[in-house]
């Protein structure tokens, strides 16, 4: 077993709130942010549902009167979540000066809106009429780079590309850096924005809810699910070495006890190998954490209403858990938050910390008829009480990337 890495701060900007507490309350109430898109026209796309952050105002997080122009929407979402996490964790500017803080961010696109708009302007107005500021944001690591500039984060700055699994990848990457003694503290998590370009793109793949010809039903594990509703948001956790947290008397919310990774070479085309990848990732994470399936208090899956993906992930988790799969309470937060891509895994982690706090595990809001093939017994629509104990977080990405993380509850102020 490796030394655990402490979670000492959380920052979220989501359609269901911008504090971990508000998010947890909304999830436990079964509030659903998934609704018809308002920010851009979706006529003729089949899909109309998304989970938007309405009225996002960067000044609220990053200070009134500041110049936000160099950052695009995903950059601002990320910088805002970073501000909230740093403040929550007590990593003020002075402390960051003494020990460089890193940032590891999972994101699928950076901003495909910024990238596409830059190119379209060059096509329409001519290459001399593009804006250098937009070019700076056209790299996929722009949200991480911009946030580092904004907050003076001089440690490692790594962007990890991915959808549902990217957030867990970022947590694992950061935890290994800390465990190897390369950093005291790293902000880790993910972000993605909801934009026309990605919305249209996913609608045309047929994987978005409402594009299959059936009634739109982006509800994980539901027998009539037909795809996901795109979401957006940013979530970052302060991961910190136990020594550093102890030294400064920091409150420890949770600890990252282990993680695991596996890949499905069929890239999701073969349901059996996809499930097998999830199973292997879970086994590796439990092994890394030194935890038996029976010790888990609950699990949180990345399931988002995808017809094949939800079942493959559940089958993989069930295979790894064995007998424990029949009873273990299971959460899936994306009928409420939509599929926030890079932010998803980190939001699963933040939600799990909420459950550590008061014992309530959100139900799968909107779940009416559970898929009869679902091999997990602990899935239901209602929020319920769970034991305080280790949480298993899993994600299966669109490309076959499977990830698992084990979080354990913290012990209040570190001794």
């Amino acid at each position: 077993m490796r030394p655990a890495v402490a979670v000492t701060g959380l920052g979220v900007v989501t359609p269901l709130g911008d504090t971990p507490g508000a998010l947890h309350e909304a999830l436990c109430r079964g509030e659903r942010a998934v609704a018809p898109i308002e920010r851009f026209a979706v006529d003729g796309l089949g899909s109309t549902l998304g989970a938007e952050i309405g009225g996002f105002d960067p000044a609220r997080y990053l200070g009134a009167g500041r110049n936000f122009r160099p950052l695009d929407r995903n950059g601002l979402l990320t910088a805002a979540a970073a501000e909230l996490a740093l403040a929550d964790g007590g990593w003020d500017a002075e402390r960051r000066e003494g020990a460089p803080v890193g940032l590891v961010l999972g994101t699928m696109f950076g901003s495909v809106h910024t990238i596409s708009a830059f190119d379209v302007r060059a096509l329409q107005a001519g290459p001399n009429y593009v804006k250098p500021l937009d070019f700076a944001n056209s790299v996929i690591n722009a949200p991480a780079g911009q946030s580092a500039i904004w907050h003076g984060l001089r440690g490692v700055n790594t962007t990890i590309a991915g959808g549902p699994a990217a957030g867990l990848q970022a947590l694992a990457y950061a935890a290994d850096r800390i465990a190897a003694g390369r950093a005291d503290a790293v902000l880790a998590g993910g972000s993605d924005e909801l934009c026309f370009e990605s919305f249209l793109g996913f609608a045309r793949t047929g994987r978005a809810a409402g594009t299959s010809g059936r009634e739109a039903r982006p509800v994980p594990f539901d027998a009539r699910r037909d795809g996901f509703a795109l979401g957006e948001g940013a979530a970052l956790l302060v991961l910190e070495s136990v020594d550093s947290a102890r030294r400064r008397g920091a409150r420890t919310l949770a600890a990252l006890a282990g993680h695991g990774a596996a890949f499905d070479p069929s890239r999701g085309r073969d349901a059996a190998t996809a499930a097998r990848a999830v199973e292997r990732a879970v086994r590796a994470a439990l092994d890394d954490a030194g935890i038996e399936p029976a010790e888990l208090a609950f699990a949180s899956l990345s399931a988002d209403g995808s017809v094949d993906g939800d079942l493959a992930e559940a089958r993989g988790v069930a295979a790894a858990l064995g007998a424990a799969a029949a009873e273990l309470p299971v959460a899936a937060i994306k009928s409420m938050l939509g599929e926030p891509l890079g932010a998803g895994g980190a939001l699963q982690a933040v939600a799990a910390v909420g459950t550590f706090g008061d014992g309530r595990l959100p139900g799968v809001a909107g779940l009416e008829e559970t898929d009869p093939e679902l091999p997990l017994g602990g899935v239901g629509a209602a929020t319920r009480e769970v034991r305080r104990g280790p949480a298993l977080l899993t994600a299966l990405d669109f490309d076959g990337n499977a990830r698992a993380v084990v979080l354990v509850p913290g012990e209040g102020p570190a001794g």
Partner: protein
């Protein structure tokens, strides 16, 4: 601190050649790969030269995946990966299956870490053409099925059947070094037995447009550290290294090109597109890499520079090298003088160069060098490859976002 990690295979697709031997001999010969851009029409641009990979036929390399289902960056990456596995003696050349001679390796313990700047930009550019032509109804599932950058790593894993940890790191022009560093960590932590690590980018209209707008592209050729340098030449390519534990490499009798000693990663946190005015983050990355490897500046025989050929980069990079190496004139060269700036592939190709340099005791030149710049007071190995003992080679890469990465390679001594 974990097991020793070695490079046992090298594959590359570059504007001056394909495969380890062809690329290495072209670079030692100082051959350049610049020519008028063919990927798209540059008539409205102030510059017209690029470093494209000509005559690339992915079907020659791919066995399991259909080339037409992959974006060009993935094609380049998978080709480089296939070449690397063959170089490592792990490829049987079989056509019907993955064709891997796994030599006792478990594919579930083999992973992939790749870097990129733009992912699959040609896919989004096709979408943008539709937007500009008001033809959104013609956009199909190909856009999202092939565009996301993580597919570069996923496609390489799918082609090879590797089912261990797969990670895509889009940290712009330092991404190859980030991927190598991450693979090093994955192996050291015992989370895999073998990793394919590298970087890939294809020629991108978006990238070309952006650098042209910044005035960063040279009109004809790339002249790093020269007083009259006028900028970079955007390019494309891919390189993949096979990394494994020394123990496993020895057990299977593999040829070892180099050992990876250590790395350093830092962020300027200063500006998205401009380096820190004193090269602070760049120097810290070198210092961190040296400290992590238990090395001092005097141990370094050769530095592979980021060396883009832009006036600012080269001046600040020279300052950072001087801060770390002091008065000692360590040989520093930039192969971007020959293959241009291949973006996310650049530091992966340069990593291959460092691995070959410590084996071969030869370092490639900085080509096109005519007039020294007092502000870049370096021994930049002008124009001629140099035979010299190369015990330790440091690979430096810098990127948009203020990302800095130094990876150190060491001559393999069992």
């Amino acid at each position: 601190m974990g097991p020793r990690i070695v490079v046992t295979g090298i594959g590359a697709v570059t504007p001056v050649g394909t495969g380890r031997e062809e690329v290495w001999s072209a670079l030692l010969a100082g051959r350049s790969g610049f020519s008028p851009v063919e990927t798209f029409d540059t008539s409205r641009y102030p510059v017209h030269v690029g470093a494209e990979v000509r005559g690339f036929d992915p079907a020659r390399h791919l066995r399991r995946l259909a080339p037409e289902e992959l974006g060009r960056a993935s094609q380049l990456a998978v080709a480089a990966g296939r070449l690397a596995l063959a170089d490592a003696g792990l490829d049987t050349g079989g056509l019907d299956t993955a064709g891997l001679d796994t030599d006792g390796l478990d594919p579930e313990r083999c992973g992939v870490a790749m870097g990129t700047t733009s992912g699959e930009p040609q896919i989004v550019e096709r979408f943008d053409d539709r937007v500009a032509a008001d033809e959104l109804d013609r956009v199909d599932g190909e856009f999202m099925d092939r565009y996301p950058s993580q597919l570069i790593a996923a496609n390489l894993a799918a082609e090879t059947g590797f089912a261990g940890p797969v990670t895509m790191i889009p940290t712009a022009c330092a991404a190859g070094n980030y991927a190598v560093a991450h693979a090093f960590d994955v192996l050291r932590a015992g989370r895999a037995d073998l990793m394919l690590a590298g970087g890939a980018d294809c020629f991108s209209r978006i990238t070309y447009t952006g650098f042209a707008r910044l005035g960063a592209i040279a009109p004809d050729r790339c002249r790093p550290f020269d007083r009259n340098r006028q900028g970079m030449i955007p390019g494309e390519g891919a390189a993949v290294l096979v990394l494994e534990t020394a123990e496993r490499a020895e057990a299977r009798g593999a040829r070892v090109w180099a050992e990876i000693a250590s790395y350093g990663l830092t962020c300027d946190a200063h500006h998205m597109t401009a380096a820190h005015p004193e090269g602070d983050g760049a120097a810290r990355a070198m210092e961190e890499a040296l400290a992590a490897g238990g090395l001092g500046p005097d141990d370094v025989s050769y530095v592979s520079a980021h060396g883009t050929g832009t006036p600012t980069n080269d001046r600040l990079e020279a300052a950072a090298v001087r801060r770390v190496f002091g008065e000692r004139r360590v040989p520093v060269s930039s192969i971007k003088s020959m293959i241009g700036h291949t973006m996310g592939a650049a530091s992966a190709i340069e990593a291959a160069v460092c691995a070959l340099a410590v084996t071969d005791d030869r370092v490639p030149p900085t080509a096109n060098f005519e007039e020294p710049d007092p502000e870049c007071d370096l021994d930049c190995v002008p124009n001629e490859a140099r035979e010299m003992p190369v015990e330790v080679a440091m690979n430096n890469a810098y990127a948009f976002g203020g990302n800095n990465a130094s990876v150190i390679f060491r001559k393999w001594r069992p």
